[in-house]
Symmetry: C2
Subunit: 299 residues, 2 copies
């Protein structure tokens, strides 16, 4: 598969995910009765033209194991609500203080800070309701998905990673500290998306472990590629300010090791991801391509 | 039952809930691996000496229907995590901007704003994991509890109520608007606690409705009593600044109707709550007392 083909596939998927999110945020019974102002802010935070990488991975894993595509999509929407809420809160003045995201005003700029905090809270709360109400899979599986999501998105996962990142501002960090932070902040939810796909499809314990590990590799690669772009990327292609980490005094692995060593590391992560999907042969080709795309992307 | 007896009962229950929350926030596997700084902030937000009214109501409803007390407590802890997170976020400078809660610095004062936002997010995420991992009840029941919690604590419930309250700052509000806001902001989670008790205990659909309605009455009464205390209470007994609503330009029903009319309204809500537990005779006495306590409290 050529890179261009994969990007087209991802784009088509992102567009479908965006449509489903739009539907969910206008007519799902879990949001019926929501004040308009809040719903508008939630929609602003979610319908942002993102790459929808997590939903893509989740749905592709479900496909790999011949699971139910409708169930896959609903869990995928929940994961994207979690990802979106984390961006809304991370952009707040007390956190990364970003005015723009993908060229649009962040939620606290388009609305106000209080609304952004509450819209984030509402998206997080909605996500669990979405997983709980996936009718095509058993209650037992939904419970497993929710328990795992609570860990991976919560204190020992994504939220914990964000705390570690905030605490490190301006302070030197060791490689181990940075790797732990990245595994939690970015790796946990990407890895969850992949493991959740295996759960939704009722894959074996062994395959579930494979998908989790695949996701861990992709998650860490995603963050490293981000760091690399922040150091060496072309602002016009990346679509955001370059050198922000360095300016904010955030030490990244790109700074510690330099471009060359980081590229070696990315190649090792891609190899690790490939090994996890090797047993599936040609059927795993899209997941291999996804790992490569994440690692070698220019934006 | 005398008021003094009831208060003693509530105090004993609050102390037990506090101990269980302490245990959960140190050794539950859902928080294993949480960075210390984040865990400390979560503990600060939760272990605050609150009345633990919601856990009390939930556990009493479970008792009424002879449900499993251990399952009751775990769901009750989840509800208290939700309540606590909402206070942590409501206290933020962008929201109510409170420096103190129950005489102690609020989380953003004891730590910082970013930590308070993330500690709130982590508590909210933890709550769903706690409900998902209650082993003594079926996966189907847990799914019902989670779906309902997502609504009642989320955009169409508590979070939506907080948005309506923020939007109204300094603007005149109608009785209908205030009542809707209060039913969502405070009523939804209190009512959830009562309905969840019926679900945990496997009560009939009719009893579940009774408990929900009982909780709705108690929830609205709770907020009205709060408004009344803010207008007419004794700061030394209430334990917080009096007249804050008026000062912030928040119009309450106490201001629209005056003390007398509000007292009549509270009496009607207590009567409504009593009617819901009437069929249970003497066994419902504690719930009757709880409704009275909430409505006629001096703090």
């Amino acid at each position: 598969m050529k890179t261009g083909e994969f990007e087209a596939l991802l784009k088509t998927s992102a567009s479908a995910v965006g449509d489903f999110l739009d539907d969910t945020l206008s007519s799902n019974q879990l949001v019926a009765g929501t004040p308009h102002h809040l719903l508008n802010a939630m929609r602003h935070g979610v319908l942002n033209g993102g790459k929808r990488l997590r939903p893509f991975l989740l749905c592709e894993v479900v496909k790999l194991f011949d699971g139910n595509p409708k169930a896959a999509m609903q869990v995928a929407l929940a994961v994207e609500c979690i990802h979106s809420y984390s961006l809304v809160h991370d952009d707040l003045p007390a956190m990364d203080d970003d005015d723009l995201r993908r060229g649009k005003p962040t939620v606290h700029k388009a609305f106000d800070e209080a609304t952004a905090i509450l819209a984030g809270d509402a998206l997080l709360t909605l996500a669990f309701g979405l997983v709980a109400s996936v009718e095509a899979i058993s209650a037992e599986t939904r419970i497993k998905l929710i328990t795992l999501l609570s860990k991976k998105a919560g204190a020992p996962g994504m939220v914990g990673g964000q705390i570690l990142d905030m605490q490190a501002n301006g302070k030197p960090r060791s490689e181990i500290e940075i790797t732990r932070m990245q595994a939690m902040k970015t790796g946990a939810l990407i890895s969850y998306a992949c493991e959740a796909g295996a759960l939704v499809a009722g894959a074996s314990e062994e395959d579930r472990t494979r998908m989790r590990r695949y996701g861990e590799n992709v998650g860490i690669a995603f963050q490293l590629a981000d760091d690399l772009l922040d150091e060496t990327g072309d602002a016009a292609i990346v679509g955001k300010t370059i050198g922000k980490d360095r300016e904010q005094g955030k030490q990244t692995l790109a700074q510690i090791y330099g471009k060359r060593a980081l590229e070696d590391r990315l190649a090792a992560l891609v190899k690790g991801a490939e090994e996890m999907v090797e047993p599936f042969g040609e059927r795993g080709a899209i997941l291999v391509e996804a790992a490569r795309f994440v690692s070698y992307r220019k934006h």
